[in-house]
């Protein structure tokens, strides 16, 4: 019989953080526990302790406050997907969460979990990066907020310290007239993870020139890829086919694409080109709100 796994079920964030601080890397935080169970069963990790945060109150909120959509860490993917609050404020967030895996995983997996896992082939991270979301975390040294674009560091690696827990994600509600989309492109079954996933956010001035353009590419590299210099080049220009192609080409040039069974680096580069273009086109055409 192997060493038993210790199970801690703290009832406050402070307690959870204290346990993590004391146990160090030997302890893993779980909420829906889907990703962790998967890794554990495949023997890719062997933690000595689980810190389940499921009993901590206050982490299941979905609300819009001060122009921000706030999602608690324990909100499930499925709750985000179906939430009238999310659909009514930033529907692309609901769409992206609705495209993750299958309904069972979406019922179990949480907002905090998908952030903390930092799996390159997840869908929500790119959307959060494109929307300038902020990740609220809490550790022994208190709370801090990390921009989503800085939160994802590498494969399965985030800016979290080992004693820090994601407590929520805040997403600024884009101004009226902004279109936002997320395209998940799969190369195999409907059930596959994305070969590339592109989040596009576009707002145009009345004259058709670009007021705001944001693009983040997921699943193509270790972390979601966003190039603000490229985005900036588009501001103030008319959003025509040439401009879109310029942005798409620039993304294709800049993303250091990876190679896996869903596509080679070459193919991913080409797909970044295609799907950045399509994301901008459909974001520009998306019903303004």
């Amino acid at each position: 019989m192997p060493e038993p796994l210790r199970l801690f079920q703290p009832t406050s964030i402070e307690e959870a953080v204290a346990v993590l601080a004391e146990l160090g890397d030997d302890a893993k935080v779980v909420a829906g526990a889907t990703a962790l169970t998967l890794l554990y069963r495949q023997r890719l990790i062997a933690p000595g302790a689980l810190v389940s945060i499921g009993r901590i109150p206050g982490l299941k909120t979905i609300e819009v406050v001060d122009g921000e959509l706030r999602l608690g860490a324990l909100v499930s993917h499925r709750e985000v997907e179906l939430s009238p609050v999310v659909r009514g404020s930033i529907p692309v967030v609901a769409d992206a969460f609705g495209k993750v895996a299958n309904v069972r995983v979406r019922n179990a997996a949480t907002v905090g979990g998908v952030m903390a896992e930092s799996d390159y082939a997840s869908d929500p991270p790119a959307v959060f990066v494109a929307l300038d979301a902020v990740v609220d975390v809490q550790g022994s040294n208190g709370k801090r907020s990390i921009p989503a674009s800085e939160f994802f560091v590498a494969f399965y690696e985030t800016a979290l310290e080992h004693d820090e827990i994601v407590i929520g994600v805040r997403v600024p509600v884009p101004p009226a007239g902004t279109g936002a989309v997320y395209h998940k492109f799969v190369t195999r079954s409907s059930e596959d993870r994305p070969c590339v996933g592109v989040a596009g956010v576009v707002r145009l001035h009345a004259d058709g020139t670009v007021a705001d353009l944001r693009v983040a590419v997921g699943a193509a590299a270790e972390t979601p890829q966003r190039f603000r210099d490229t985005e900036a080049l588009a501001i103030g220009k008319p959003l025509d086919a040439d401009l879109i192609a310029q942005v798409a080409d620039a993304y294709a040039d800049q993303v250091d694409t990876l190679d896996d069974m869903r596509g080679s680096a070459w193919y991913r580069t080409e797909m970044v080109r295609v799907w950045v273009r399509r994301a901008i086109e459909s974001a520009a055409a998306a019903p303004a709100r």
Binding site: E3, L5, V19, A101, R104, A108
Partner: protein, 175 residues
């Protein structure tokens, strides 16, 4: 049985000499108190401790749905949920669907009538997922059913008749 394991004021779930904790699950309307190791999944516990053979392992990675369990009415992969974290929720397996005298649920009857299966290994998962679907979307279209059921895999490829079954069940449930 063993000394209390407390870290930073938080006490770990007490384990016995065999490394097991005591948990209480609500399964198909009955309260079950069992000893499990903290890493044991709900699927393992349902099969091995509670003798429920309807939920089955197909992939172990949450992809196939053969281990589907309804948790508070919502489908979840039993293979990816540590059993201890299922405490406090209403769990329903296929064994919980039939009536008190073994009457088939209308969805089960529809699967019988359309032969919505071949080897039937995946069938409990499909039926439970269909139940959740039709609870959430009583008027689900065939395409909506396809989307909802896409995470349940049937290697025999009985999909056409599975959809026939679900669409028929929808009408039966409307009565």
């Amino acid at each position: 049985m063993t000394a209390e394991d407390t870290v930073a004021g938080v006490t770990a779930r007490a384990v016995d000499g065999d490394g097991r904790i005591s948990i209480t699950l609500q399964v198909n309307g009955r309260e079950q108190r069992i000893q499990v190791r903290p890493h044991h999944t709900l699927l393992e516990v349902l099969r091995n401790e509670l003798g429920l053979t309807g939920p089955r392992e197909g992939c172990g990675v949450g992809m196939c749905g053969a281990c589907t369990v309804l948790v508070d009415g919502r489908p979840v992969s039993g293979c990816l949920l540590p059993a201890a974290l299922a405490e406090g929720h209403e769990l329903t397996t296929i064994e919980g669907l039939e009536g008190p005298n073994g009457e088939l649920h209308p969805i089960q009857q529809a699967f019988v009538d359309h032969t919505g299966f071949q080897c039937s290994y995946c069938t409990p998962g499909f039926i439970l997922t269909s139940k959740a679907l039709l609870a959430e979307q009583p008027d689900a279209s065939r395409d909506e059913a396809r989307a909802y059921l896409a995470g349940n895999l049937c290697r025999c490829g009985s999909y056409v008749k599975i959809l026939d079954s679900v669409m028929d069940a929808k009408e039966r449930l409307k009565g």
